[in-house]
């Protein structure tokens, strides 16, 4: 219990510090006192830069980080597999493909990107989830990776090799995009906290759950729908950012244990912090240009995944 509280304290502090540092850093460097003056109304030019360019991007990174970590944690529960993350299972790349094709063939309609990304994610899960992949963790990952490559390949086929994914990301994030993300994201995150007990229920085999009267299929489908919703929200605004959904929940388990009612809130906070950190680093490391958060996450996440698999924390299946 003490360890948990300490972990929550540290992550909240880390978020606060990173937000402040992120507000300070950029093409123009502001000191703490300049920031203070800006917020107390003495430096309108600084305040304008910070509020118009930096803050929406910070807010967006925080929310997206939380959403990705949450989607990862829930998907790990549903698939009973600690590597099951929407970004490596092809859910987000299917979303991107659908968005691209929709843009070609469909007339524009409201929430078009979100709806298309959601449909793409559903299609990916429908292709992914069957009795075999649910029972054999390796099979799920292999099929997922294959689907991911297929969707990515198809996307490249239709764009003739020009990677349109790069046009997304946090660069140039405005309040109008950030507000939409915050609203959609908070709905998803609150729902995730509400259904956390279901993620715990799925630690038991289906047969056992049926014996205690739990409608297994219904809760599994609801959780999957939530995963697709969270992923689709993110994909439709900033594209695919890999590995946060794997790294964060697995580290969260180390700090706060295995109860999803604590894993989920802690993952939200840690995911928010991690993505903000990565985006801030990427934003300032090669000024005046920048490295996208997706690229940096791929570089960090790949090795983490290798370590996780090699240390055997792979599927987490234990016979009790």
């Amino acid at each position: 219990m003490r360890k948990e509280r300490l972990a929550y304290g540290i992550i909240c502090l880390a978020i606060l510090v990173t937000v402040i540092v992120s507000l300070m850093l950029g093409t123009q460097l502001f000191s703490l006192s300049e920031l203070w003056q800006a917020f107390t109304g003495n430096r309108p030019a600084v305040l304008n830069t910070v509020l118009t360019f930096r803050l929406p991007r910070i807010v967006a990174a925080l929310v997206v980080g939380g959403m990705l970590a949450t989607a990862g944690a829930i998907s790990q529960s549903v698939f009973r597999n600690r590597l099951a993350d929407p970004t490596i299972l092809g859910v987000t790349s299917a979303g991107e493909l659908f968005m691209l094709l929709g843009g070609f063939f469909l007339p524009a309609f409201g929430l078009q990107k979100l709806i298309l990304a959601f449909l793409g994610g559903l299609v990916a899960f429908a292709l992914l989830a069957n009795r075999k992949t649910l029972r054999h963790p390796y099979q799920l990952i292999i099929v997922g990776v294959a689907l991911n490559l297929t969707f990515t390949g198809l996307k490249q086929l239709f764009t003739q090799g020009i990677d349109v994914g790069n046009s997304l990301g946090f660069n140039g994030m405005t309040w109008s995009s950030a507000t939409g993300l915050v609203i959609a994201g908070c709905i998803g995150l609150i729902l995730a906290l509400l259904v956390a007990p279901w993620a715990n229920d799925l630690k038991l085999p289906d047969e056992q759950l049926a014996m205690v009267g739990v409608p297994v299929i219904a809760i599994r489908l609801s959780l999957l729908a939530l995963v697709v919703y969270l992923s689709a929200d993110v994909t439709s605004v900033v594209g695919t950012i890999p590995f946060i959904g794997i790294i964060v929940p697995n580290i969260a388990r180390y700090f706060v244990g295995h109860d999803y009612q604590t894993i989920l809130p802690f993952s939200m906070l840690s995911g928010a912090w991690l993505l903000l950190l990565v985006d801030t680093v990427g934003r300032v490391v090669i000024l005046p240009s920048e490295i996208s958060a997706a690229t940096l996450m791929a570089v960090i996440g790949g090795p983490f995944l290798v370590i996780l698999v090699q240390r055997g924390g792979f599927n987490g299946i234990k016979t009790g």
């Binding site: 056992q208 759950l209 014996m211 205690v212 009267g213 987490g316």
Partner: protein, 253 residues
């Protein structure tokens, strides 16, 4: 509970249960014994409503078991199986709390106090915060028993609960079951491999062979050398042990 003229077969194969009629004695301990493939586990699944008979009916409190929802049934029937798989680390209290699910809304958070009495009943209240995997096999089986008790069932089914336990833990679990039956009047239905264990603990025994009830009655009536030899298709002898009573031993060539 009652089985009336129950017949069951998997599609396209020989019937596993044939014209089975019997009733589970209320408040007693019933053991189902018989050779492998006799249909013991299938019979248990029928009684729990996990599968439906091809013909005939299974009645729970006078009503067809198929008429109960999963949730209603869960408040009447609980199961402890021979081995329980979990897909993640679980604390002891998490396991026992799943037994309370029939009594709460799906999104409820269940308090620790609510499950404490059930852990006390199996002498594991000290382990409430411990991870399940840190306990011994015998203790883990008692945690699952506590989880089943948390359903406050009228009927407790145990499907070869002692299979993976060594003899000391087997003994411990069997006396616990006996105590639960005596103190809480739960009707207990056991599927057991060990004939002697079954005969020792039960008030009533069903002897099965090839999906049919060969004999039902008190343990004494099952203690028949010819009957057992015939059912298990191997010679057995019943000897009298001073401290134990009649004991069935198998005679191998």
């Amino acid at each position: 509970m009652e089985l009336k003229q129950v017949r069951y077969s998997y599609p396209g194969s020989e019937p596993l249960i044939v014209n089975f009629t019997a009733s589970v004695p209320q408040g007693k301990i019933l053991s189902i014994i018989g050779p492998n493939g006799a249909g013991k586990s299938t019979l248990l699944k029928l009684l729990m409503g996990r599968i439906s008979p091809d013909s005939g009916e299974v009645l729970l409190d006078g009503k067809s078991i198929a008429a109960y929802s999963n949730r209603e049934r869960a408040a009447k029937i609980a199961l402890v199986s021979q081995q329980h798989q979990v897909f993640d680390e679980m604390a002891v209290k998490e396991v026992v709390k799943t037994g309370r699910l029939p009594f709460h809304s799906l999104l409820a958070t269940i308090a620790d106090e609510e499950i404490l009495p059930f852990l006390k009943a199996v002498d594991l209240d000290w382990a409430i915060d411990r991870p399940l995997s840190s306990l011994s096999g015998g203790q883990q089986q008692r945690v699952w028993l506590a989880s089943a008790l948390a359903q406050e069932p009228s009927y407790l089914f145990l499907d070869e609960p002692t299979t993976y336990l060594d003899i000391r833990y087997q003994q411990e679990l069997m006396s616990l079951i006996d105590k639960l039956n005596a103190e809480q009047h739960i009707t207990i239905v056991l599927v057991l491999h060990d004939i002697n264990q079954a005969l020792k603990i039960s008030d009533q025994v069903w002897l099965l062979k090839q999906g049919q009830l060969v004999k039902e009655g008190a343990p004494d009536s099952i203690l028949d050398q010819d009957l057992l030899s015939d059912t298990f298709e191997m010679p057995v002898k019943i000897v009298n042990l001073e401290t134990f009573g009649p004991y069935v031993i198998q005679l191998t060539a």
